[in-house]
Subunit: 157 residues, 2 copies
């Protein structure tokens, strides 16, 4: 059983290769696909953030990629399941990012914090709604904080 | 151009029909599909929340569903684009919810706040990582707060 999904938009980014970290240094926009009408973006400008669902189209599905691994292949991090990490080589190769909206022009949304490379197919955009949470107390293991330290902002060198 | 995506898990919920609001009254779990190994969940129990990506498999894709509409078909809300609302009748019919993890047993994650009905195909689970935001100041139009007032908790009757 499978479902076909199609691009409704495309990522335009100053990053062309799938490298880690430092995403805030890139400029990125989302451009509607030709068969999506302008009105699909109506009203989005009144939200501060948008949730972007995309396909890591140059990553490997799992399988053949493993269902458990050390994040970034780094043995200093625990070996955890693919659902306990954000690796791009995963079942269905889907990415989800919540991005700040910088501006919206006809058929194009400029965003900050989109960790997807140039040419990435976008499957959906959803206005970020605060009530969708997370609700309640939030926690995560310490290895995540270590891994995320340079994800958006590279450390000064 | 399209990509095939497949269920990696299934929603088990006490709600069987697609009705609005009051989701906190439901009990829900996510059960791994037969071809996904147990280890895919390793380490997830150390996170408080999980992001669930699913298919609204009983909804209508857009098109034929419209790309702009009044949320819930209610003229009291402004007519906005499909990307400025969370309606289930949308391009690719994808849903994303951030749920609190209640417990994890072998191949089964009990969650709170999953707004998906029984039998819904799940495409991915991602541990919720605080650094993924939203980052910066968050705002949304007033109609959203009105619409969301009873989304999780029904008002006392």
């Amino acid at each position: 059983m499978s479902y076909p999904v199609r691009p409704v938009a495309w990522v335009r980014s100053t990053r062309a290769e799938p490298t880690d970290d430092g995403w805030d240094a890139e400029r990125a926009a989302i451009e509607l696909a030709d068969d999506v009408p302008d009105e699909a973006l109506d009203g989005l400008a009144l939200f501060s953030h948008v949730v972007v669902i995309f396909v890591f189209d140059r990553a490997r599905d799992a399988p053949p990629a493993p269902f458990a691994r050390h994040p970034r292949g780094n043995g200093a991090y625990p070996r955890v399941g693919i659902f306990a990490q954000r690796a791009k080589d995963r079942p269905n190769r889907l990415g989800v990012s919540t991005c700040r909206i910088l501006s919206i022009a006809a058929r194009r949304v400029e965003v900050e914090g989109l960790d997807a490379i140039d040419g990435t197919p976008v499957l959906d955009l959803k206005a970020h709604i605060a009530q969708f949470g997370p609700r309640g107390e939030v926690h995560q293991p310490a290895w995540v904080d270590e891994l995320m330290a340079s994800y958006f902002t590279d450390p000064p060198s």
